[in-house]
Amino acid sequence: MTPILQLRAVKAFYGQSEVLHGIDIAVERGGMTVLLGANGAGKTTALRAICGTVRREGEIIFSEHRLNGRSTEQIARLGIAHVPEGRGTFVGLTVEENLRLGAYTCTGTPHENMQRMYAYFPILAERRRQQAGALSGGEQQMLAIARALMMSPQLLLLDEPSFGLAPLVVESIFALVERIRREHRVSVLLVEQNASLALEFADRAYLIETGYVVSSGSAKALADDPQIRRSYLGY
């Protein structure tokens, strides 16, 4: 089975400076792939390169489509949902409006999808009329994920869903993502600092350091690698 997303020798730039120096990544259809690495390694940039919010070179292929040269909004329309760093919810709009925006690319009424999201995240149903800015961090993260799923994506890019959240909340969010992935057959590409948790849920992992992929393999293999255990897992 061909991967749903393939990056071949992808470089990314902020202004003149090259941040990614040619990385190769593949995301299996229906699988969960995780990008690990220290701060500033280029994980977030990799996601942004896929979505076209940074300047990039190299080849990015998403199920038959070349993404190079496509704008961010066109890429979203192809079925890639990105939950950006810092969640990117529309804080001035209500929860329901946020969800409606998630379904912006879909034709027809988003009602059914919205009910499904409210079933996954009952707290959002309770707060549907509240401004997103009034939600707690965990709720905002849920809202961000729900909004991304509203477009019925084939691929979900998650950027540090654990950011700034209590460990219990993180566990529940991961469990939900895992459940949604199985039930909806969404492929997930995850960027995460919490390596042990991420490796537990993911099936493939890439280790990025200073803009290069330095190690890759099954999540289990990486979790067992003594070098990686020492540097990233801390035991």
Binding site: C51, T53, S71, T72, E73, A76, R77, A81, H82, P84, G88, T89, F90, V91, G92, L93, E97, R100, L101, G102, Y104, T105, R147, M151
Partner: protein, 289 residues
């Protein structure tokens, strides 16, 4: 007492016009964080288009609708061609560009239509109502403004495009990730602002007469109204515009000679910025570090 009420009502009619233009300013400010100094001249130019159409024999409301459509397209074109290059430039560049637009529209109007005053027809008869408390013309102006407001409110509240525009204004990057074409939304915002401005221009022209400089005072009052209401708040802009209209009329009648009207606006602007910089309804301006 009678005179006071009379002044208040005619102030409300003038205020409704300022409110429309203030609303246009607020829309552009929210969408692109720009203060559009050319808003008044764009409205003036739209009014000349309406005048041309009426003079060509079109019925008033037909000319009105065509003018709105033309202004909408023109506003979109201006955003795409003129404003887009400076969207992320320093404030100064954006100010200079909108001032450049102001000069271009002012001089184009002068060039095409000359600087002489022109009479502009009013669609409403000028009859006194309720014992001369107000005129039918005032009522008409206020009604048109209210209709515009209602249409806008419904557009932003209930349509997907309206929602997408709000999203694009608030967080362009996230909006893009949702598949929203942010550039198109900004263009639509400018188009709508231009159309609202056209309404203001057409409503004010019968009272002021048509000439290329007619909007400078109106723009000043609209700015004042927008600042009083809080430049990020559409509701505030409308209320602010009405406040300015009434204040202007009362101050002009009772306090000082009306030759100092603009000075009153200046003082109002300074006071608002000093003591309530976010206006009555605006949200705090976040300073980027």
């Amino acid at each position: 007492m009678h005179q006071l009420l009379q002044q208040i009502f005619s102030g409300l009619a003038a205020g409704a016009i300022y409110a429309s233009l203030a609303l246009a300013l607020v829309m552009i400010y929210r969408a692109t964080n720009l203060v559009n100094f050319a808003q008044g001249e764009m409205a003036m130019f739209s009014t000349y288009i309406a005048w041309t159409l009426v003079n060509a024999g079109l019925p008033f409301w037909g000319a009105f609708l065509i003018t709105l459509a033309v202004s909408f397209l023109g506003g979109m074109a201006i955003e795409r061609i003129v404003i887009r290059p400076v969207e992320n430039a320093p404030i100064l560049a954006a100010v200079v560009v909108t001032i450049g637009l102001l000069l271009i529209f002012n001089s184009l109007a002068g060039w095409i239509y000359s600087y002489t005053l022109q009479e502009f027809p009013s669609p409403f008869p000028d009859r006194p109502l309720f014992g001369a408390l107000m005129t039918t013309r005032d009522i008409g102006v206020i009604a048109v403004t209210l209709v515009v407001l209602a249409v806008l409110f419904c557009f932003f509240r209930f349509t997907t495009t309206g929602l997408a525009m709000r999203a694009a204004a608030q967080n362009p990057e996230s909006a893009r990730l949702c598949g929203i074409h942010v550039g198109r939304m900004l263009a639509i915002g400018w188009g709508l602002a231009a159309a609202i401005g056209a309404v203001a221009g057409i409503m004010v022209a019968p009272a002021l007469f048509l000439d290329p400089n007619m909007m400078s005072g109106v723009l000043l009052y609209a700015f004042t109204g927008a600042l009083i209401g809080g430049i990020t708040s559409p509701v505030g802009a409308v209320i602010g515009g009405l406040i300015v209209g009434v204040t202007e009329n009362l101050v002009g009648t009772y306090l000082i000679a009306s030759q100092l009207k603009f000075t009153v606006a200046l003082i109002l602007i300074i006071l608002v910025l000093l003591f309530r910089p976010n206006g009555l309804f605006g949200t705090a301006i976040v300073r980027r570090v």
